[in-house]
Symmetry: C2
Subunit: 243 residues, 2 copies
DNA sequence: ACCTGAACACCGTTCAAGT
DNA sequence: ACCTGAACACCGTTCAAGT
């Protein structure tokens, strides 16, 4: 209907796994996690719900595939582009730390743009999307010169931290969206709730309520990455000193 | 209006929020995440599905309440008991680091015993269960003597890491359970998959495949906590040196 | 090989009606 | 105030039947 002829070996509107995945991503982006439905999807693709099952095993499979398409894009971007244009112009290679930061920020931004990824990654466990991330982080950890014994835990820690932040941010997004609030109003409400907590039971949470109100998600995320990177470096130094 | 008299002023089998939450936890533990259904729940409680809505707003509310009941239990345990009996017998107070480790392990074990918590915590975003955890960690981070500016990010990092591991573990559990595999077989299969990856694209993942096969979840989890704690200490030292 | 669409077995949630 | 249970509007998935 819309697009011109490409490779007319097939009907332009014939189904394919890729087309289904693309439509799923659009649906998830526009309608949220609950928006991905075999009925909505088949309507968008102008078929019956059953047709989709010819190309996709089930809903879980579809979600993982959609997730993987996004993650693969992020990994490719990170591999191609350096942290920012300035750093690129200045010299050649960037440090492994910088690459890890770029990777982490890439994931942060992707999860910000597609909040549903956060929970999708928790449903895909040891599947391809997670492995991509794991590999990408692991290569940099190795380049960091961490002792072999520590590479596994360092990589796992970074991965879990990234997934944790992503999942939590996605949850916040969802919760804000459900109550039809924008980011600022949502954070304001949570901050109000925190401020109203009992002083004796929640002294810490109360004391940081105002920091929540206008904090920088992205900056805080990066601070956590730096904390872990610092811990890795520290453990490397300790190991070296013992030798 | 709620808990004036504990004595049996009501029929033994009358509904209450607590009874519903307890039954939900049992259902989730025994039948998994998908096992919590208003129909299954009402059957277990010998009522109609509609009756539950008198005490609970909706399914999300119920899941958060179930999650909170478990988390509250863990926090209470950590607050009461030290890391282990030996440490207790030896001296009085344990260090903030040890308390954080105990807290983290308590969460790990709880998420191991109730895998559904992992995903429930991602649906409860800024709600009570997360705040309990946040507060508990925050108090210890403060006790650590970290500079005020860093307390927020340190606490957030620890929280997100714990939630990330928990969510990922829960996902693995679910995936193993779906395919009717025990832990060892599941890890074996994943390790096989990793070993079969393309050497050029996944060198790191391939190289650690065997570490996966018989790794220690709990130990690795703690190693990540220690990495973050190390990073916190490192940043504290740096700040102090600059002064 | 690929697609159709009715049908099945569920689900969360509501609500008039009961006590 | 609390509970009942039928009913509603959905859902993922299947499958005989078509091309």
């Amino acid at each position: 209907m819309v697009k011109k002829t490409r490779s007319p070996q097939r009907r332009e509107d014939s189904l394919s796994r890729d087309r289904i995945v693309d439509a799923s991503i659009e649906l998830l982006d526009s309608a949220g996690e609950g928006g991905l439905t075999f009925r909505a999807l088949s309507e968008r693709l102008a078929t019956g719900p059953g047709a989709i099952y010819w190309h996709v095993a089930n809903k879980g499979d579809l979600l993982v595939a959609a997730c993987d398409a996004v993650i693969a894009g992020v990994m490719a971007e990170v591999a191609a582009a350096p942290l920012d244009a300035n750093a690129d112009a200045r010299a050649g290679a960037q440090s492994p730390e910088d690459t890890i930061r770029a990777l982490a920020l890439g994931m942060f931004d992707a999860m910000d743009a597609h909040p549903w990824i956060g929970s999708a990654l928790f449903q895909s466990a040891g599947a391809l999307p997670t492995v991509r991330l794991f590999e990408c982080i692991g290569q940099q950890v190795r380049a960091l010169g961490a002792p072999a014994a520590g590479q596994w835990s360092a990589t796992s820690a970074l991965l879990h931290y990234i997934l944790g932040v992503g999942g939590q941010n996605a949850a916040n997004r969802l919760s804000a969206q459900t109550r039809a609030l924008d980011r600022e109003d949502f954070l304001g409400e949570v901050a109000d709730t925190w401020s109203a907590l009992d002083e004796r039971d929640y002294p810490f949470t109360r004391s940081v309520a105002n920091q929540l109100r206008d904090h920088d998600d992205r900056g805080d995320f990066l601070a956590g990455i730096d904390l872990i990177l610092g811990g890795i470096q520290r453990s490397t130094e300790t190991k070296a000193r013992k030798r």
